[in-house]
């Protein structure tokens, strides 16, 4: 990846000459020319271990048979893979492997797709010479999700190596010696790991299997649908396997999709969410204050009639719409078209507003793109990676794998600005791999970024070309930064100026540098400013236009990026182009053959405010759940209760849907076709795996039917037709290529930014945030020492910052319906640093009370080493109570509601 070698080697395999790149293994070279050498322990993702000895081949001028999985090709090598000697060797090795194998294929879930089965059919006689007793391991479970049958194990250690080399979790290890080697996890209790399912996927036999679908299927019964995971912005390829209309399992083949076959717990075990028994089966209509089942005709006619009446009475701007980014691009496109043409308003918004919009707006402002200028390949190939405010393992696990690959395999230098502290835990911690780690309070990420920029500016690391091109810009930044003395910076970040300087030097020295900015920044106050500052950092170091360099804001929901590009947001038209962009409006009007509404859009918080004030009378909500997402302080419920018409298109009866006048059952991603655009801007196909549950229909179909009833038909035959229309609008959109062609930054926009664009808020952006308000930056102060001595005696509790965030095992509220994920995590618990926990005298499972002015909650405690002192983390997926404590503040520029943290007092119950 990092360097593409053009050096090739010529060799002969089975008499056929082949030319392959230098360093290729013989087994890979053979595979390239269509010769399959049997193997168990070899896997292209893993370093060769050569322990199964199955892949022996004859190489001329070598004394013994060689393992093709560990022998790199050499010039002029002559390889024989099918001589008598080689076949005898395969036979004998298989005989050994089968000696202790229980041959319980009929009851093994791998039966039918098992490497051992295939090779035995090919190489061994049906009778065995093994007359002795087979060794027997007692049955052992890893966990409620993963089950092991060690009698079937061929000890290829693929699972162990995957867990270490790819996932960096190291949850598995071989234990015992010789034939009694078994794969185990480390503690006596159940396996506690990332549950990525990698061991299940990579096991060549049936030794490690998923318990979710144990014994429910035979491989040949399954129908497959290649689609895209719905849980995070990474956009992983998944293959949903179904039997009838039941979801049986999910996997992802090596080499497939942007994830290269790697999945996380959500992708691998979270697929049951869509077939949860609570799924809405039919439309619900409010009659006498109760939501009762109705037919589609009744429900749609009611909506259409009420809409027409309200529109006549109050005009189109009494309407508003909210759409979740979990919808497909087609849904998003039809939704905004419906709102803009049928209703006639721009007042639409979506869940990208919760944070992703900050990154997109920063990119548009500074470099004129709405997408990353890098792709996953650039992350893997980067020399330096700067991660800001992203607990990447938990929020975007597969992007995290790319970072891990870059660091572990290609020795990239990792810089992290994170609240996390490096710690050994049951899940991998990106801070452990970091070369320059700055552990700061979540609201102070921006300060460390300032520190880095200050180090760049004052260390003379500013790119020469930039100083010549925009001296005023450089001067303005250095002047503002000069006003912040190093001492203050050191005291608010807890990082020394030397450390910052070293990190800055490492960043500047790299030829390819990628900056990943996560929801930790984008969802906290000042997120827009920090994202812009990071672009300043790239500009100052002269990297913003270099290939393989760029800023990459990580999307939280699977189609946040698509929502931006489909224009399903207050400030964008499809494209995206700005709402007041005359050329774009004309183009769109020409295509839609209809004038676009003139009046400005409204963001989420504005819509809620207007609803509260009685200005918004009707609201369309597609998959969005403001009551469930925003804290009580946002008064979403009060706003929605005042509406005269609330239409919800939903999978489940959410908090918002409960208030609705009409609830329309929508299809989940597993039941419809379409496309998702992942965080790096790759448009990928979503394909239906099962028939719609109950009477549910795809969102675009519902909107299309409504448009017909309202007298303005927006009709499509299928999702492909919508995509075709989108492609007319955005050329090349959704042409499903192997990798996205990343956009280049628009030099005109950069030029404008460097000349005057920066000036409007440079003073505001280059200010320290949160100075003096927390003590978290100095964890081991003397007062902390004395606190520790008085463990358990703190009477009036401890002041902490509560951060409500994402965990690895869930995504939004949707995944809490997945039975597999609920086995791993089924309730929220407060993650506390052990020393904080000691200070109030609590251990795992103890109940605590959190209090602040807004309210209080009680919960149980979990001690987590990776949580820094002075901070408490709570999963947002179970935040029913926690939302009471949170306050909400709105970004002045991007209107993002910041509602993920609060200061609380914690006390033991």
């Amino acid at each position: 990846m990092a360097t593409t070698t053009t050096e090739t080697v010529r060799l002969t395999i089975d008499g056929v000459p082949v030319t392959v790149p230098k360093g290729t293994l013989v087994i890979e070279a053979a595979r390239q020319m269509g010769v399959m050498i049997p193997h168990f322990c070899y896997h292209p993702k893993l370093k060769p271990d050569a322990n199964c000895r199955m892949c022996l081949v004859e190489i001329e001028r070598m004394p013994k048979l060689q393992t093709s999985c560990s022998t790199p090709v050499a010039e002029g090598m002559v390889v024989h893979t099918a001589t008598t000697v080689v076949n005898e060797a395969h036979k004998s090795v298989l005989e050994f492997i089968l000696a202790n194998h229980p041959l319980d294929c009929p009851v093994c879930d791998q039966g039918g797709r098992c490497d051992l089965q295939d090779f035995s059919h090919e190489y061994t006689p049906t009778t065995s010479r093994f007359l002795e007793v087979k060794r027997v391991f007692p049955k052992e479970y890893f966990s409620a999700l993963i089950e092991t049958q060690m009698n079937r194990c061929v000890q290829c250690l693929r699972c162990v190596r995957y867990c270490d080399e790819v996932m960096d979790v190291k949850a598995l290890a071989p234990s015992g010696r010789g034939t009694m080697t078994e794969i185990k996890h480390f503690t006596t209790h159940q396996l506690d790991c990332e549950f990525c399912g990698g061991c299940v996927q990579i096991c060549p036999v049936g030794a490690i299997t998923s318990r979710l679908d144990l014994y429910e299927f035979r491989p040949w019964m399954l129908k497959r649908a290649d689609t895209v995971c719905t849980y995070c912005g990474d956009g992983c390829h998944i293959t949903i396997q179904t039997k009838g209309n039941d979801l049986i399992e999910v996997n992802s083949a090596h080499g497939a999709g942007r994830n290269n076959g790697d999945l996380c717990a959500r992708g691998f075990f979270g697929y049951h969410a869509t077939t949860h028994p609570d799924r809405l089966q039919s439309p619900l209509l409010r009659r006498n204050g109760e939501l009762v089942p109705a037919t589609w005709e009744e429900a749609l006619e009611f909506v259409a009639e009420t809409c027409i009446a309200l529109k006549l009475k109050h005009g189109p701007d009494a309407f508003a719409g909210l759409i979740a980014s979990r919808c497909t691009n087609e849904d998003l496109y039809v939704f905004q078209k419906f709102m803009r043409l049928v209703i006639g308003t721009n007042r639409i918004d979506g869940s990208a507003r919760y944070g992703h919009i900050n990154g997109v707006r920063a990119l548009r402002r500074v470099q004129g793109t709405h997408r990353w200028t890098v792709a996953f390949e650039d992350i893997v190939g980067a020399e330096v990676l700067l991660l800001v405010g992203t607990n990447i393992t938990e929020t975007n696990p597969i992007t995290g794998l790319k970072v891990k690959e870059a660091v572990k395999k290609y020795n990239a230098t990792l810089l992290t600005i994170e609240a996390l502290v490096p710690a050994i835990g049951t899940i991998s911690n990106i801070a452990n791999l970091s070369a320059h780690h700055f552990s700061v309070h979540p609201e102070r990420f921006g300060n460390v970024v300032l520190g880095l920029i200050k180090a760049v500016v004052e260390g003379g690391l500013v790119a020469q070309t930039l100083t010549q091109r925009a001296p005023a810009y450089v001067e303005a930044i250095s002047q503002t930064l000069r006003a912040i003395p190093w001492e203050t910076l050191e005291s608010v970040t807890g990082a020394t100026s030397q450390a910052l300087m070293e990190a800055a030097r490492a960043f500047v020295a790299a030829r390819r540098a990628v900056v990943l900015v996560g929801q930790g920044v984008l969802r906290t106050p000042g997120g827009f400013g920090v994202a812009t500052n990071l672009l300043d950092l790239l500009l100052l170091t002269g990297k913003h236009d270099r290939p393989g360099c760029g800023l990459a804001p990580l999307a939280e929901e699977n189609n946040d990026q698509g929502a931006v590009e489909m224009g399903a947001l207050a400030e964008f038209l499809p494209g995206p182009s700005d709402l007041d962009d005359r050329a774009a409006r004309e183009r769109l009007a020409g295509l839609w053959k209809e004038e676009l509404p003139q009046r400005p859009g409204a963001t989420l918080m504005q819509i809620l405010g207007d609803a509260r004030a009685g200005n918004v009378k009707a609201l369309f909500v597609v998959g969005e759940n403001p009551i469930g997402s925003l804290p009580r302080a946002a008064q979403a419920k009060e706003a929605l209760e005042r509406l005269e018409l609330l239409v919800c298109q939903e999978l489940f009866l959410t908090d918002t849907a409960r208030l609705a006048h009409v609830v329309l059952p929508a299809c989940s991603y597993a039941e419809k076709d379409g496309t998702f655009t992942n965080t790096e801007g790759h448009v990928q196909a979503v394909r239906h795996a099962i028939d719609p549950i109950g009477e549910s229909r795809p969102d675009w179909e519902i909107l299309s039917a409504l448009s017909v009833l309202m007298g303005y038909p927006i009709e499509y035959g299928d999702a492909k037709e919508i995509l075709k229309e989108i492609r007319n609008l955005i050329p090349g959109y959704g042409l499903l290529g192997p990798a996205p062609a990343t956009p280049r930054s628009d030099e005109a926009v950069v030029e404008r930014y460097l000349r005057e664009g920066y000036a409007e808020d440079v003073g505001a952006r280059y200010q320290l945030t949160g100075a003096g308000s927390f003590d978290m930056a100095q964890p081991a102060t003397s007062s902390a020492e004395s606190d520790r001595r008085d463990a358990g005696k703190v009477k009036d509790g401890l002041q902490l910052t509560l951060v409500v965030g994402q965990t690895l095992f869930h995504s939004g509220k949707l995944s809490t319906r997945a039975k597999g994920l609920m086995e791993v995590q089924n309730a929220g618990s407060l993650g506390l640093n052990p020393s904080d926990a000691d200070r109030i005298g609590v251990t795992d499972g103890d109940r605590v009370r959190l209090v602040n002015q807004a309210g209080e909650m009680t919960t149980s405690v979990r001690r987590l080493d990776r949580v820094p002192e002075g901070m408490a983390v709570f999963p947002e997926h179970f935040d029913e109570e926690a939302r009471r404590l949170l306050t909400v503040s709105v970004d002045p520029v991007t209107q993002v509601p910041y509602c993920k943290s609060a200061k609380v007092r914690i006390e033991r119950l």
Binding site: P102, D104, V107, E132, V136, F137, K139, Y215, E216, R218
Partner: protein, 181 residues
Amino acid sequence: MAMKFKAWLKTITFYEILVGMKATLKHLLHYRPITLQYPHEKRTLPDSYRGMLALLRYDDGTEKCVGCDLCEAACPSRVIRVISSEVPGEPTKRYAKEYYMDMTRCLFCGLCVDACPVDALGMTREYEWAVYDKRQLLLSKPQLLAIGDRSFPVREKRLELQHPNVAFFNVAFKFMPPKES
């Protein structure tokens, strides 16, 4: 010449017709009834007669079927449907939670019996399965077990030496301990 004469002779004596009628004429002369008075008389079945299918049990009453679905895969006319699952309370043991045979489609080819790795399927000598309602021919697991119980009263002994922790097959089949007398 002689050949021509022979052919001419065959033509004028209707020789071919006589050959064809040979069996008829024989039975005309030696009359013996072949028709069985079916409900009152029954035919002796050959030893390898393939009749109604049945599920079998071991001598201790446990069902043999492990729910491996191989019969379903082997069946050429999609008679069998197996819904397999874990044995409740005995994790990692597989069994057929539900087992259906749609006998209206069955060809009695016996491929399922051949496919069964644990000899849980047997072909009985029952054939009197005419019913008024076709739905009665959709047989469930208890029905199939009942057929097995009445047709195979002598049950196979359950394999010994099974480690309690091993799902099913972990036995060195060739070296069974000698049976204790």
